[in-house]
Symmetry: C2
Subunit: 154 residues, 2 copies
DNA sequence: TGCAAATGGTTTCAGATGAAACCATGATGA
DNA sequence: TCATCATGGTTTCATCTGAAACCATTTGCA
């Protein structure tokens, strides 16, 4: 009988438990990427996600940023505060609705984006390079399926 | 004016970026599982991981638990403090090395384990049920490959 | 021996985080 | 017009977390 000392209790094998594996792999790779730009640009994960979204969609409101980053609005608010303070993001007030903000990257923000984005892509390639080509295709397909589709925001 | 695209800046598409997808999927599923046992047993993720490891390997030290759970020793120390306080884990001092602890589940710990483990497995099956059978096989294979190998064996 | 370095584990401090309360503005309806 | 509710966003509070400092014990070695 394999390594279990308590077969009657059917203990979980953590290292073969998919949610655990996902957590480990995710944390390892995210941390590796974050280490790069945190040191170089004093930029947190949440801040980078906000910047990445604003790079694609100029003029979003904070709420829309939250939707697209799967972060909650508190996290977005704080990330924006830091980004605006560092002049990486500009924030106007919406002309027709004074509650909404209108967000976008500044020149400084774009500069950082253009350094970080290729580096992030490189790390992604390094991760995928550990897989055979067909495995890479399957992983992409599988993650697309597992991603929460409609995404109720909070 | 259309919400701006910036092809010259090659912005990252977050929702197709593998590390981001991993993070979302991992957090979603981990949270779903944790919600179950947190409410029912007042048990945190870190505590559950410690219990799962002790269910398989009786008599580990805190350092060994940290290795096997991929948690740092501070987190393990705190999880153990709560588990011991709740009489879910017993802790002796190692006979030949008074620094080491010798850990194991109590009867109460086993009882909780035997309720939580099947539930966790059920959630894992629910996750995998969203995939075709061959995708399930590929995911398992892929995660095994992506898991950081630490050269130790158990 | 004796003393510095290493190790197991805990505590401290400082930053990150989420839930809920909060504030200002905007929409709704009598 | 006013009262009420909804919405965008920020602040507060309590918890969680990791890095580094810390304590006790063990190991290495002159």
């Amino acid at each position: 009988m394999p390594a279990g000392r308590h077969p009657d209790h059917a203990p979980l094998e953590l290292e073969r438990f998919v949610p655990y594996q996902l957590s480990i792999v995710s944390n390892t790779v995210s941390q590796a990427i974050a280490d790069d730009y945190q040191a170089r640009h004093d930029l947190g994960v949440t801040e980078w996600r906000v910047m990445a979204v604003l790079a694609r969609f100029d003029g979003l409101s904070a709420r829309e940023v939250a939707e697209r980053t799967a972060m909650d609005k508190v996290a977005v608010s704080r990330a924006l505060a830091r980004l605006v303070a560092a002049s990486r993001v500009r924030r106007h007030i919406h002309a027709d609705d004074k509650r909404r903000s209108v967000l976008g990257l500044t020149a400084a923000g774009w500069k950082i984006h253009d350094e970080v984005a290729p580096m992030a892509r490189l790390r992604e390639r390094e991760l995928l390079a550990r897989l055979a080509p067909e495995e890479q295709v399957w992983l992409t397909r599988i993650l697309d399926k597992l991603m929460p589709q409609d995404g109720r925001e909070g």
